[in-house]
Amino acid sequence: MMTKKEIQCPLCGYRFSEEESGCARCPHVKKCRMVMCPNCGYEFPNI
């Protein structure tokens, strides 16, 4: 069964998966350990 890692934004509480994050257009996306909330745009470390 496929499971997705759920991330919760510490600023707006929105829950999303890594694929949904707002990082897709960022050129540093592959090496970056930050993630951007698709709801509010807050960027935070993806632990």
Partner: protein, 658 residues
């Protein structure tokens, strides 16, 4: 977003829909077991899950939709969830709702009912609700909604198959089974009826086969997707809907979509109040939440105290570390290196590069920049992990609403405090160009962590925490004034933001340190080398006396208008590369880490305010150009310059008069 219209097969299918965190995935796994297919919805990156189950010997397809707060087509997830629901018709929806947050969950339930698709409500987490003293009369709820309501505990599998069997029964009974028509206020109902009648008269086919009433409500909400589809063949219906929406707006003084949403919330509130038999038992965390979040009269003073405590720790601990590092560096490193250089009679140019460029640059970075940055990141991680950051956003949102700034306009104010660049990139989640411009302008004057270093390293360190907070207060005041001003003069729609406040938690030290390191390593890898290279370049320019021309050219502005020492012109220019460089360059140029030797208290405040406001750094400029284009970027850059000079000049005069 470009979602393609695809028609799913007409096999017997059940769609699961619900808000995030309602236990929907557990529910789905309980029904389907293994053999789940996960795929992206056509044309999107949104994932939907599909599985099968057998009920009474019948193979049933189960589709899990993304967790969504409402059916409004404002995000890819919501769009896809809505598409799945509309396109799998005739289907039964199992709406999974969280019994511990009934009222909030009912909002989506009411929207689903409006689609008039057969539906079963799975009242999930009833065990958790019971622990909290919440007892819900599910039969009464069923009467209100006009659909079966089955209490479930998905984690234990209780009630799950009963809900699925009920859904199958609805399928067998046919399309006649619909939820109750829940009525809005009289004004809105009149408008809906008028539009519904027009739709019945004019439209033979209704998009997605939804009811005329559902279509009327969506048109009155100006749902972009529905408006687009209907406009293609029935422009007159859309024009009529627009007239009626305007009528609602003149009646109620707010957008029709907001009015309808408010009434839906009121309905959800009324139903929840009627079916919850016993009031929620107040746990300690609920009391703490009320004092710190819900009640603004206690919440805002507590928030101010928390912010004050955080800044005080930044100034005192940062200042202490600065002193320790400076003393140790000068004692163990500078003294020894100086001794070696003198002993070996090193070339004067190399001596300048080593002592003024490398050593002084390193000292400024290690002693002034790093302590404040690391502490800032630690405190930010603690705020995030305790759940208090979301509460600050919530409390500020309430304040901003009173000032005319709405929902998403607030977020940049908070995001930008870490770093302006991701905050600017984040403006792409905003719906309108107007909001993007306002947000980008505000972000550009938000004191990011780099500017915080300048404020704390100069004003906080030499004048004290209250003066540093005063500089922040000036920044905050300007943000609010600029935000309100831009909000009023720019046209376009105002868009709200959905927030979910996480529960309070005790932060885990390892997680806090990991988060701090992830943020700090960006600084180590990118900013720190730049600071050292900048210091070396500056020491060389100074050695060859190439800085005098710049200082002289900027003297009328820096000295006459802003009342600052001439030496500040060069650091201000270097600050465009990275704002931390301002303080680094000041140290290199003045040859000391003791900045009280070159600044008076008034000059410290003026310099910190000007640094806080003037021109975005080069990375922010790049982000602005990418998100908004060069025209808006230039406007924002010039706007911040004008603001910095005006405020700096006023402060210079005002503080000298005191």
């Amino acid at each position: 977003m470009g979602v393609e219209v695809t028609h799913m097969s007409d096999r017997v299918s059940i769609v699961l829909a619900g808000q995030p965190n309602t236990g929907k995935s557990v529910f789905f796994n309980r029904i389907t077991g293994i053999g789940v297919i996960s795929s992206n919805y056509p044309g999107t990156t949104v994932e939907i899950m599909e599985g099968w189950t057998k009920i009474d010997g019948l193979r049933v397809r189960v589709i899990d939709t993304p967790g969504i707060y409402s059916l409004d087509a404002t995000s890819p997830d919501q769009m896809v969830a809505r598409r799945v629901i509309l396109e799998t018709r005739p289907a039964v929806i199992i709406n999974i709702i969280d019994a511990t947050h009934l009222e909030r969950n009912l909002y989506l339930t009411l929207q689903l009912l409006e689609l008039e698709v057969p539906m079963v409500v799975a009242l999930n987490m009833v065990d958790e609700a019971s622990k909290r003293g919440i007892k819900i009369d599910h039969e009464k709820l069923s009467e209100f909604l006009g659909v079966p309501v089955i209490p479930t505990v998905a984690t234990r599998g209780e009630g799950v198959f009963k809900a699925v069997k009920k859904a199958m029964e609805l399928l067998k009974e046919g399309a006649g089974v619909r939820g109750k028509k829940l009525e809005y206020g009289k004004d809105i109902e009149r408008v809906i009826s008028a539009l519904e009648e027009k739709i019945r008269r004019e439209m033979r086919e209704i998009p997605f086969g939804i009811s005329p009433r559902a279509l009327a409500i969506l048109l009155l909400q100006r749902d972009p997707e529905i408006v687009k589809i209907v406009s293609e063949k029935h422009k007159e219906v859309v024009e009529f809907a627009e007239k009626l929406a305007s009528a609602i707006e003149s009646m109620h003084g707010e957008q029709s979509s907001i009015r309808i949403a408010k009434e839906r919330y009121a309905l959800a509130h009324m139903i929840a109040n009627s079916v919850v038999e016993k009031q929620e038992r107040r746990l300690l965390r609920d009391v703490i939440d009320e004092i710190t979040t819900t009640n603004i009269y206690t919440g805002i003073p507590i928030m101010m105290l928390v912010v004050l405590a955080l800044f005080s720790s930044l100034v005192y601990i940062g200042g202490m570390l600065e002193e320790i590092i400076t003393t140790a560096w000068e004692l163990f490193v500078v003294a020894n290196v100086e001794g070696i250089i003198t002993a070996y009679g090193v070339d004067p140019l190399l001596r300048v590069i080593i002592l003024n460029g490398v050593l002084l640059g390193l000292e400024a970075g290690l002693a002034i920049v790093i302590p404040y940055i690391v502490l800032f990141y630690i405190l930010l991680s603690v705020l995030e992990d305790t759940g208090y950051l979301a509460r600050i956003a919530y409390l500020l949102d309430g304040l901003m609403h009173r000032l005319g700034l709405h929902g998403r306009a607030l977020i940049p104010l908070i995001v930008g405090y870490g770093c302006n660049v991701p905050a600017i990139v984040g403006t792409r989640v905003l719906e309108t160009r107007r909001e993007r411009f306002i947000a980008a302008f505000l972000i550009s004057i938000v004191p990011c962590s780099a500017r915080t270093v300048v404020i704390l390293g100069i004003v906080g360190s030499y004048l004290g925490i209250m003066y540093a907070l005063g500089v922040y207060a000036i920044g905050l005041l300007l943000l609010v004034i600029s935000g309100v001003f831009l909000n009023r003069i720019l046209s376009g729609e105002r868009v709200g933001l959905v927030m979910e406040i996480p529960p309070y938690r005790v932060p885990h030290p390892v997680t806090v340190l990991k988060k701090t390191w992830i943020r700090f390593r960006e600084f180590v890898y990118i900013a720190f080398p730049l600071l050292i290279i900048g210091s070396i370049v500056l020491s060389l320019l100074e050695y060859f006396e190439m800085l005098d021309a710049v200082t002289r050219a900027m003297s009328p502005l820096m000295v006459t208008v802003l009342g600052l020492p001439p030496v500040t012109a060069v650091p201000i220019i270097f600050g465009i590369f990275r704002k931390e460089m301002v303080i680094e360059m000041l140290v290199v140029l003045s040859g000391t880490t003791d900045l009280s030797l070159i600044f008076t208290p008034t000059q410290m405040i003026v310099f910190a305010v000007v640094t806080m406001l003037y021109f975005p750094c080069i990375a922010s400029l790049g982000a602005l150009a990418k998100e908004l284009g060069w025209r808006d970027t230039i406007l924002i850059a010039l706007g911040t310059m004008a603001l910095a000079i005006t405020v700096g000049a006023i402060l210079n005069v005002a503080l000298r008069c005191l």
